[in-house]
């Protein structure tokens, strides 16, 4: 049913925004982590979104490239900008010069990211809600 295409599109949006929230909270949680699994300081993670064709979208009229598209996280990239270095010779992760490299995470940016992702999630949820109301309204016509 073509009615469910928008549901699937919004569902993919919800999944993508949730991934973004996951990564933002990971960045926040590791804002001070000086050692990751590879022994290096934590690097902030960013999702890369990609538009994907949705199954069932073919029922929508339009050219092949102009169908409703869902979104998916195509990859997660680690931000390679260097983190700030703090002089702290007693720290177990200090280098030979006594400097500790902290993650390149700015908590303020991450919180803004989190807010934006949460708003995006809400927007997709609102689209689902609207669609549901439309479906019910459409069914009410023949009451």
């Amino acid at each position: 049913m073509d009615f469910f295409t928008a549901l699937r599109v919004s569902g993919s949006g919800l999944s993508a925004e949730r991934t973004r929230v996951n990564l933002a909270s990971s960045n926040l949680a590791n804002a001070e982590t000086t050692r990751g699994p590879d022994g290096q300081p934590y690097k902030r993670l960013d999702p890369v979104f990609q538009a994907v064709a949705m199954e069932g979208a073919n029922a929508t009229p339009g050219a092949p490239g102009e169908k409703p598209m869902g979104v998916e996280v195509s990859q997660v990239v680690a931000d390679q900008t260097p983190g700030k270095r703090v002089y702290s010779p007693g720290h177990p992760d200090a280098d030979a010069d006594g400097f500790v490299t902290f993650p390149n995470v700015n908590p303020v940016n991450e919180v803004v990211n989190l807010l934006s992702a949460s708003r995006g999630y809400e927007a997709n949820a609102t689209a689902v809600e609207t669609l549901k109301q439309m479906a019910q309204r459409g069914l009410d016509i023949s009451r």
Binding site: M1, F3, F4, L7, R8, S10, G11, L14, S15, R18, A125, V128, K132, A135, Q136, L139, S142
Partner: protein, 102 residues
């Protein structure tokens, strides 16, 4: 006498049969019949119900994810409502016909 009778009988034209409508025999579950389509649609509604059930089970077991479950429930809800609408219309039509005085 005979010829008079022939004249009278010849004057009576046989009743013309109205063009018979071709109605598909009901009960066949083949493509295109109403029953077949209805069964197919009900099968799809059932599939969505089962899907919603599985999603809810997955979430209850700690797997799955919440919005996928909500969407599956929503799909099941909408399709069930549509099925109920069709059923009510059918029953209404049936009652209407049964009330008809012949």
């Amino acid at each position: 006498m005979r010829s008079e009778l022939d004249m009278i009988v010849g004057g009576v034209r046989p009743l013309e049969r109205p063009e018979a409508h071709t109605i598909e025999a009901p009960g066949k579950s083949g493509e295109g019949t109403f029953t077949g389509e209805l069964t197919k649609a009900l099968g799809e509604v059932d599939k969505l119900q089962v899907d919603a059930d599985q999603q809810a089970k997955m979430v209850a077991e700690g797997g799955g994810n919440l919005h996928e479950m909500s969407l599956a429930l929503e799909k099941a809800d909408i399709s069930m409502r549509l099925a109920m609408k069709v059923r009510n219309k059918l029953v209404d039509a049936y009652n209407e016909i049964m009330r008809m005085s012949v």
